[in-house]
């Protein structure tokens, strides 16, 4: 379902429909996280990505006048070459996945499952606030910079 929504998103003419399909894709991704027993990331994905970033997108889509752009050609002139390149890239990745298939372990579920699932949030919090404290602080500075940037962008120049 994630792939179907993603394809639909990229091909829609109406951007609002595209946004809704992206929301669908993000929710499917969140569901995949839940399948992988990462419940904290499931909730974080929904709150941040779907409930935050996509709201931003939807805001901008609605503030931008779309009628003109919706009637124009949607795909640019290089679509064929771009598509071919993307498929070549995908083929390379596929090759990489297959090349390592021989020595790869399947998901080591039975041993790890009981240990991880009830304590996923605590485990993530532990790691985040001990080993990864520095990236955490840097991420907060990044967010601060982004906030300042966005505010500066939005101010209209007086006069």
């Amino acid at each position: 379902m994630a792939v179907a929504s993603a394809i639909l998103m990229v091909t829609r003419r109406n951007i609002v429909h595209g946004a809704v399909f992206l929301i669908n894709t993000l929710l499917s991704t969140a569901g995949i996280f839940l399948l992988l027993q990462a419940e904290f990331l499931f909730v974080v994905q929904i709150i941040l990505y779907v409930g935050g970033i996509m709201v931003l997108f939807v805001f901008v889509i609605m503030l931008v006048n779309l009628d003109v752009s919706m009637r124009q050609v949607q795909f640019n002139r290089q679509w064929f070459v771009a598509g071919a390149l993307a498929l070549v890239l995908a083929a390379q990745f596929l090759f990489a996945i297959h090349a390592t298939q021989a020595g790869r372990d399947p998901l080591r579920l039975p041993a790890m499952a009981a240990e991880i699932s009830p304590k996923n949030t605590e485990a993530v919090a532990d790691a985040l606030f001990s080993h990864y404290m520095l990236p955490f602080e840097i991420a907060s500075i990044l967010l601060l910079v982004a906030m300042i940037g966005a505010v500066v962008m939005a101010k209209r120049r007086v006069g």
Partner: protein
């Protein structure tokens, strides 16, 4: 077979919820009337008790109008999103020790996440209506929701630090263990969440996006009949959800007020406070019986008697539970206390609605970002300090939070003083 009980609870909640939402509307109208020195709906049932049913029938029979240029898919989809998210959030809510559809160990975050998805119902609805007023109302509402969601979430975090877990059941358990409800030990957290939740549900004094005198009805303008009732249901279901979260986190969930007061009725093994629910419901039943002969129309008399019988039945159930095994008693009485607290919280919502004038949108955003969020941050830090005090110096559960409360109070007063009177000249060039 482990699915039977959750499915049963889910069916009960989904079946009872629209009815409850309808009766909250009636409650609102009666309370509004009472505060405005009039009577409110009196005709449709005795004292207006059948009014919600009449309203529901009317809404279902209305014509379904779709604006001409509207985006049909979105128009159909938007109320659906609102209602689905509002109902989905009930799955993690814990109404009694065993009355919960799913005891997720991230229960609280899940409810918050689902509430934040409800924004899309509003935004897409405003967009799909293809009208300027709807779109503006929808965007304003979404901005307000996102801002106050942050503030409310921060208010909740301060309590989560004390509870130590995200599971709704564990949070109530923590309150029981610490012997004091978090609403009393962290009053500022409660205050922040109260204000945040009023804004979250688009209630007055933050209801600019949907106020009748402002943008007609904001994002709901173009919806009529059943679609409108879906939005309406979503709004009141949302109200009940935030009341449920507040009750679980701040008001002790299903715990009996005065849980440590064990005075027994002389002669029996029943405690006074445990007998209170049954006595209250019995009182309501007797009052209905007293009012029954005074109703003007015969059908109203009949309905009144039915209400009396219903209350009497509930009283019997509550009293009977006293003599049942403790698990059953806790379950049934827990549900009663939970609903009582939820209704008290909703009454606070209504009271605030009819007391305060509406906030203008920029005042609203200023309140959210420049007052509530700093206050909430100070509160969180203060609670952290309190936890350190508890662990290092072994202060008690209530005493350790007194410095927090004082610090937050100080910051609140500083912030409130900082809010200079808004000078209109500065908005001349469109800020």
């Amino acid at each position: 077979m482990p699915f039977v009980l959750p499915v049963l609870y889910a069916v009960v909640i989904v079946a009872v919820l629209p009815l409850m939402a309808g009766y909250i509307v009636l409650m609102e109208r009666k309370v509004m009337a009472d505060m405005q020195a009039r009577l409110g709906p009196m005709r449709v049932g005795p004292h207006g008790l059948l009014q919600p049913i009449a309203d529901a029938v009317k809404l279902l029979l209305k014509e379904d109008i779709i604006p001409n240029e509207a985006d049909r898919l979105m128009f159909w989809f938007a109320p659906l999103v609102s209602v689905t998210m509002a109902l989905l959030a009930y799955s993690a809510l814990a109404i009694g020790p065993a009355f919960q559809i799913a005891d997720l160990n991230i229960g609280l975050l899940f409810i918050l996440a689902i509430s934040s998805l409800g924004i899309y119902g509003i935004v897409l609805g405003g967009w799909a209506s293809n009208s300027h007023y709807s779109l503006l109302g929808a965007l304003r509402s979404a901005a307000q929701l996102v801002s106050y969601e942050t503030a409310a979430g921060l208010g909740l975090i301060s309590v989560l630090l004390l509870a130590g877990s995200l599971s709704m059941k564990d949070i109530v358990q923590a309150q029981s263990d610490q012997g004091v409800w978090f609403g009393f030990s962290v009053p500022f957290g409660f205050f922040i969440y109260l204000v945040g939740s009023i804004a979250e549900t688009n209630r007055a004094p933050f209801d600019l996006p949907e106020a009748e005198s402002e943008l007609v009805a904001g994002y709901m303008t173009e919806y009529s009949g059943f679609r409108w009732s879906l939005y309406f249901l979503a709004e009141y279901a949302n109200m009940i959800i935030v009341a449920g979260i507040a009750t679980t986190l701040f008001l002790g969930g299903w715990l009996r007020p005065g849980a440590r007061y064990h005075e027994h009725i002389p002669g029996t093994g029943v405690e006074w406070l445990d007998a209170l629910p049954a006595l209250l419901t019995l009182g309501v039943a007797l009052y209905s019986l007293k009012l029954a002969p005074k109703q003007p129309v015969k059908i109203q008399k009949i309905v009144m008697v039915m209400v009396a019988v219903l209350c009497f039945g509930v009283a019997c159930v509550l009293a009977g539970a006293l003599f049942a095994p403790p698990a059953v008693m806790q379950g049934i009485h827990g549900a009663f206390w939970f609903m009582a607290k939820v209704f008290a919280y909703i009454y606070a919502f209504l009271w605030i609605r009819f007391t305060f004038p509406r906030y203008r949108f920029d005042q609203l955003m200023r309140l959210g970002w420049r007052f509530l969020i700093p206050l909430a941050l100070v509160n969180v830090i203060g609670v952290g300090v309190a936890i350190v005090l508890r662990q290092q110096f072994a202060w008690g559960p209530i005493v350790s939070l007194i410095p927090t409360t004082l610090a937050t109070l100080g910051v609140a007063m500083l912030l409130a003083k900082d809010d200079a009177p808004i000078v209109d000249a500065q908005t001349a060039d469109g800020e």
